[in-house]
């Protein structure tokens, strides 16, 4: 169930989601938050088992804080995604998989990134991506409108359109749209020296 989308722009990254949580054929919640902010530069959009996803998000949050304190500068988006994917992979190999497909969106020194991390532990970097039961419909919209020179404002519109289209035809998605925009960092490269 669910529709989530992530779009990389030249100004950063945009994530979008619907708000429905399904319990079989019943709508369990109409106000679910499916986009979790890890910090000001990273967020994760969740599709799949909410409890599993919440756990992964909590671990990622803690680990990112810890690493930044220790080494003096934050994890890149790719490093954060690999960290989560490793947890997913070890879960899979222990026959207790995390039933999730996550869109990791964030900005770092190199700009905006969108990564897809699933329960197999694989990660792929994408220009745009969709996940959840509504994703085939969302992809239809994304594929026809997306282009590389997109701005955050345009991406916001496209993400809204993609999730809205999925909500029209996918019974697993609905009850409103959430959008998160993460703008690119203003600092091009940190010149601060690591301390302690």
């Amino acid at each position: 169930m669910t529709t989530i989308v992530g779009i990389k722009t030249k100004e950063g990254v945009v994530l979008g989601s619907d708000k429905r949580a399904s319990k079989g054929f019943f709508i369990g919640s109409k106000i679910t938050q499916k986009i979790s902010k890890i910090d000001d530069t990273l967020a994760i959009a969740i599709a799949g088992q909410l409890s599993d996803a919440e756990h992964l998000v909590k671990v990622a949050k803690a680990e990112r804080r810890l690493v930044e304190l220790r080494r003096g500068f934050p994890l890149s988006v790719k490093e954060s995604t690999r960290l989560i994917a490793n947890l997913a992979y070890s879960g899979l190999k222990n026959y207790q998989p995390y039933f999730v497909e996550l869109l990791v969106g964030g900005v770092d020194d190199e700009g905006g990134h969108v990564y897809v991390a699933d329960m197999s532990g694989a990660i792929t970097g994408e220009d745009f991506a969709a996940s959840g039961s509504g994703s085939p419909i969302a992809y239809g919209v994304l594929e026809s409108i997306y282009h590389k020179e997109i701005t955050n404002e345009q991406a916001k519109e496209i993400a809204t359109k993609a999730v809205a289209a999925a909500m029209e035809r996918d019974p697993g998605s609905g009850n409103g749209i959430d959008i998160l925009v993460i703008p690119k960092l203003l600092i091009v490269k940190s010149t601060k020296e690591a301390r302690g």
């Binding site: 690493v67 080494r71 500068f73 690999r82 960290l83 940190s190 690591a194």
Partner: protein, 236 residues
């Protein structure tokens, strides 16, 4: 009669081992007079008898060099400059067996970071790992590692150089000397160091420093370098 307090200067006869003392209740104590850690100080003493070893860093390169003590004919001297990962090198002074063990610990941590984050490890994290590894040897009844390590590398923050001592203490800086007559070597470097020197000049300075320290003409010196313009830590 008042209880006699542990002065720390009492005998160590019950263990016959100079690194520790026993207090008046007969317990083993790692602290000596003035709260000094005797085992760690012994390790530092062993390091100061090791071969003269140098690290020099500017904003464009980081260099490590170490004196190789002459060996008997037909015997190959052991290498003193170690590649930790593509972008990090290290050298050390003290017991070579301990140095090798610590080098392996660093290499392992560097590869663990690659597995966990799919990126090369930053030098601060590497140093912190070595520091906490060494620190565990100061809180249990074991022999601390008799080796100081100089780590040179580069990461997102630029070129980096650290010295890590047997107790887990570490320092960040632009020049370090450890081992035999390290104070003599440091004097030479302090006089000749300039922030805009070339790698060639730094190599000359490190050679001169080691020459002065060991009081030997043309000593055998092992050198390794990492610069911002090149990807890899290179042994010269």
């Amino acid at each position: 009669m008042s209880e006699e307090r542990d002065s720390g200067t009492n005998n160590n006869s019950s263990f016959g081992f100079s690194g520790t003392t026993t207090n008046n209740r007969g317990y083993l104590s790692y602290y000596g007079p003035g709260g000094r850690m005797l085992l760690v100080e012994s390790a530092l003493e062993a390091v100061s008898r090791g071969s003269t070893t140098i690290g020099i860093k500017t904003s464009t390169f980081a260099l490590t060099s170490s004196h190789i003590k002459p060996t008997r004919p037909l015997m190959e001297p052991s290498e003193k400059i170690f590649t930790i990962d593509e972008h990090v090198g290290a050298t050390g002074s003290g017991y070579i067996g301990d140095i090798l063990q610590l080098i392996d610990e660093l290499r392992l941590e560097a590869q663990k970071h690659r597995l966990t984050f799919e990126s090369p490890i930053d030098i601060a994290s590497l140093v912190k790992h070595l520091s906490s590894y060494l620190h565990t040897y100061t809180i249990y009844a074991v022999r601390p590692q008799a080796a100081s390590i100089i780590i040179a590398g580069k990461d997102q923050m630029g070129t980096q150089m650290y010295q890590v001592d047997p107790g887990g203490t570490y320092f960040r800086g632009s020049a370090f000397t450890i081992g035999q007559s390290s104070d003599v070597a440091l004097d030479v470097i302090q006089h000749e160091y300039s922030a805009d020197m070339t790698p060639e000049q730094a190599i000359q300075i490190s050679r001169k420093a080691i020459e002065k320290a060991v009081g030997e003409q043309k000593p055998l010196v092992d050198t390794g370098i990492i610069s911002v313009t090149e990807q890899l830590f290179k042994k010269l």
